[in-house]
Structures are given as C-alpha cells and as structure tokens.
C-alpha cells in the first residue's frame, strides 16, 4: 500500500515539475522578446559554450565514426556490401547517432555546468544582488543561456557529425584503400534533404532543452552546497530523458512527412 502511495507521490511531483518547467519556458519566451536585449552576455555565453565543448564533441565524434565503421565492416564484408559503408554511416550519423550522442554529451558538459553555475549564484545570493541592482536576472542569466545553447548545440552537432564521418573515412581508407573524394561523394550522394532538415530542426530543440532544464534546475536551486550538486545532477538526468522524448517526437513527425 505504501509502495503505491510512494509511486503516486513521485508521479505527482514529476507532473508538478513538468508544470513548473512549462511555466519557466513560457516566461523565457516572454522575456526574450522584451527589450533591453543582453547581446554582449549572449555572445559571451555562445563563445564560452562553443569553446568549452568543442574538444569533447570532436573526440566523441571521431570515436563514434571509428567504432561504427569498425563494428559494421565485418558484417558488410560477409554480405559483399562493403561499398555501402559510406552511405550507411553517413545516413546513420547525420539522421540519428550524431545529433543524439552529441546532445547527450553536451547535456553532461553544458547542462550540468549551467545548473551548477546558476545554483551556486542562487545560494551565494548573487542572483538576489543582481535583482537588487535593478537588473532582471532572468533576462541576463536565463534568456542568454537558453538562447546560446539553442544556437550553439546545432553548430556543435554539425561539427561533431563532420568529424565522425572523417573518423569513419580513416578506417575505410586504412582497411579498404578508399579515397577521400570517393568516400565523401558516396556519403553526400546518399544523403537527401529529408535526412538533413529534420536532424537540423531536431538539434535546435535539443539545444533549447539543454539550456532550459539547466537554467530551471539552477535558478530554483535549494539552499546549500548539496542543493548545487543536486541541481547539476538532476539537470543532466532530466535533460537526457527529455532529449529521448524530443527525439521520439521528431522521428515520429518526420516519419509522417516521409509517408506524405
């Protein structure tokens, strides 16, 4: 009986959190459209997020490309279909694996960073100090960060995808003596507008989700250092869950358009 009660309580608090997150998102859109605009802080955030995550995204992308090709090659060889490798890797990386894995990596790197930074600012009263000085902290801290992740995550995903494809090419070049031109010609021949567009749109939503959840968790962080840790941790967990939900919805919607 108490087990059912506990599940019910958890479900209720989950729904409450979804409601609060939706309200937070609504406030974001309201504040984002209202002047004054914090361009300088937005540029600083874009630079900081891009700069801090580029190496991580590059290494992750490169390893994905290598591993995917090395794992798939023996099976394709068995069926005499190794020439399909660039098409297969290209489509899978651009449509699904690239955006999803890069977004998860960025959720860990950027989302937790935002959660911890804003959480720390909340517990040390820096957000209150900002408000007392007449600056709208929501606009200065939250709007700029969400906008920066929405713009930078797609860019990082594109770079990550390109490096993943290069990693895949290196394996093909070493094992199958395939030239750079031939490999990438095959990749781009197999990719269609319908592969790239949904993946790009999806990556903007991923970026928005990473910024939104990170800011939400940090901005409403509970007092104390434990609260900061919890904010950073729950930002990653909640964002990861949200990324899978967005991915499912994006694939579902894209599938409807394919059928049309």
């Amino acid at each position: 009986m108490s087990g059912i009660k506990s599940i019910e309580n958890q479900f209720n608090s989950f729904l409450k959190e979804i409601g609060e997150l939706s309200y937070f998102a609504g406030r974001y859109f309201k504040e984002a459209l209202k002047p004054p605009f914090e361009f300088k802080e937005l540029l600083r955030q874009c630079y900081s997020m891009g700069n801090r995550s580029l190496l991580l995204v590059a290494i992750t992308g490169f390893i994905i490309g290598l591993v995917l090709t090395l794992q798939t090659r023996p099976t394709l060889l068995e069926f005499g279909a190794v020439s399909w490798m660039p098409s297969m890797v290209g489509i899978s990386i651009v449509r699904e694996i690239g955006p999803m894995i890069m977004a998860l990596v960025c959720a860990g790197r950027i989302g937790s960073g935002i959660g911890a930074e804003l959480g720390s600012m909340r517990v040390t009263e820096q957000i209150d100090a900002m408000e007392v000085s007449g600056t709208n902290p929501f606009k200065y801290l939250v709007v700029t960060r969400i906008l920066a992740t929405t713009l930078m995550i797609p860019l990082l995903i594109i770079i990550g995808d390109a490096i993943a494809l290069y990693g895949s090419f290196l394996v093909e070049n070493l094992k199958g003596n395939v030239s750079f031109t031939l490999y990438f010609n095959q990749v781009f021949d197999s990719l269609e507008f319908g592969d790239i567009l949904p993946a790009t749109i999806k990556s903007f939503f991923f970026g928005f989700a990473i910024g939104l959840v990170g800011c939400f968790k940090g901005y409403y962080c509970k007092k104390g250092t434990a609260g900061v840790g919890k904010a950073a941790n729950s930002a990653v967990v909640f964002t990861s869950l949200l990324l899978f939900v967005i991915d499912f919805i994006a694939v579902f919607v894209a599938d409807i358009f394919y059928e049309l």
């Binding site: 600012m121 820096q126 100090a129 408000e131 000085s133 007449g134």
Partner: protein, 260 residues
C-alpha cells in the same frame, strides 16, 4: 496586539528628521511557520538603526521583503514615501537605485573582476548620473572609499573575506544610495576585520549622510554603530531604544542578547 516597548524618550520623536523608511504590521509565513507577526519599524534620515535578533528570527526575511526580493503576506513597506508592495517592476527598479544592499556573504559576481562587479549596477542606472560622468572614475572613486583601488582587476576568488566585504560595500556605494541595508555586515569576519568594516560603515554614513539599517547579532557592531536599536523577538519589534538603554534593561528577553 504586539507588545512593543519604546524605551527611547518620547520627546526625542518630536525632533526627529524625516522618515525615509517605514514598515507597518508586516506579516510573513512559510507554510505553518509564522516568521513575521506584525513587525513595525521606522528609519529616519541620517540614522543608523540596528535590528538584532536570534538566528532564524526573521531578520533576513524582513530585509528581503524591504527590497522586494520576497513578497510579504500583509502589511505596508514605505520607502521614501513610496509603498513598495504596490509598485510595478519598473518603478521598483528605479527606486532600488536609492537603496544599497550589502549581502551577508558579499554576493560578488564570481565570473567578473572587481571592476566589472562595480560597473554592473551602473549599466541599469546610468540615467541617474550625468552622461559625461566617466564610469572608470566612478569605479576608482568607490574603491578609494573602501581603500581597495589596487584590487580593481582582481577576481573575487583572489580576495580575502574582509576585502570581499569592502568591494561589496563599494558596489553598494557606487549608485550613491540614500539608504543602505546591511545584512550581517560582520558575520564570518575576524574581530579586527569586523572593526575595520564597522569603522568604514561609520565613515560612509558621515561622508554621504546615508540612512542605514543594519541587521546583526554582533553586540560590538551594535554598540559602535547604532543610534537606535530594535530587538526582533518572535516576529515582532519587541523593544526599541538606544544601545545604552537596552543594555541596561532588566527584561530577561532583552538581557539575553547582551550576555554574549
């Protein structure tokens, strides 16, 4: 009704300067916990008013209600003839330029240098000053007031606790406020640094003729700086008087504060 005992001589009230800040019947509770139960206070121009109370007695809650960081359940808060509980955000932000707030933990922005910390409040309240006034000159002047002009390009992490408190005071002063609110200005500091901060607060009051509301449980701080004191007990202004009057009281509740 609350049981305020105004120990200060009544005739003094007739000679009082104008009121700059007044709280009437302030109530604030968090769930079942009633923190403020009809708190009243009046701050006169050029006065140093100390509010003493035990930890958790609602001192910080009261000061946060005063600047609009928290919403009171009921009661009125009048700052320079404006009831802040009825002001819209824009008017409140303008009024906040006349209220300086020194936070308990200094609340310096971690990611900014000392110079940027001081410039931050100016970006929102530039209209308060002559357009020809150089920001750099204002920052240096504010730092000179606290004896820290050499720390202008340091990060907050490179400063000691006392230096942080001084920089926070300089940030409070840069907008040339008419009222300064100090939330535990000496907490966490050694006795020598505490004394330095107290003397600095006195100097500032003399130099700029500001009115100060000081929240503390440091008896030495209260002795040095207070013109009048209020003891906050059980959410009400239990008694009002000078340090000398209150420290000579036979009331056990009042005596408990001075036994420290």
């Amino acid at each position: 009704m609350k049981e305020t005992q105004d120990i200060a001589n009544q005739p003094k009230n007739l000679e009082r300067p104008p009121i700059v800040l007044q709280i009437k019947d302030l109530y604030k509770s968090f769930g079942e916990n009633n923190v403020l139960n009809g708190f009243n206070m009046t701050l006169y121009k050029g006065e140093n008013l100390v509010i003493m109370g035990k930890s958790g007695s609602g001192k910080s809650v009261m000061i946060k209600c005063l600047v609009g960081l928290m919403e009171a359940d009921s009661g009125s808060i009048t700052v320079m003839d404006k009831d802040i509980t009825t002001l819209n955000q824009e008017t409140l932000d303008i009024l906040r330029a006349d209220i300086g707030f020194l936070f308990q933990g200094s609340a310096l922005y971690d990611s900014m240098t000392v110079r940027e910390n001081l410039e931050f409040p100016l970006r929102r309240h530039s209209e308060k000053f002559d357009h020809k006034t150089d920001t750099n000159t204002m920052v240096i002047e504010a730092l000179k007031n606290v004896g820290l002009e050499s720390a202008i390009d340091l990060m907050p992490s490179e400063l000691s606790g006392g230096m942080k408190r001084r920089v926070a005071l300089a940030r409070t002063l840069i907008l040339q406020p008419k009222i300064i609110l100090y939330d535990e200005p000496t907490s966490g500091l050694d006795p020598i640094t505490s004394k330095e901060i107290i003397l600095l607060m006195k100097d500032i009051q003399t130099k700029y003729n500001t009115s100060s509301l000081i929240i503390t449980h440091d008896v030495d701080c209260a002795r040095y700086i207070s013109d009048r004191m209020i003891l906050l007990i059980d959410g009400v202004d239990y008694t009002v008087g000078t340090f000398k009057e209150l420290s000579a009281s036979n009331d056990p509740k009042i005596r408990a504060f001075f036994k420290q």
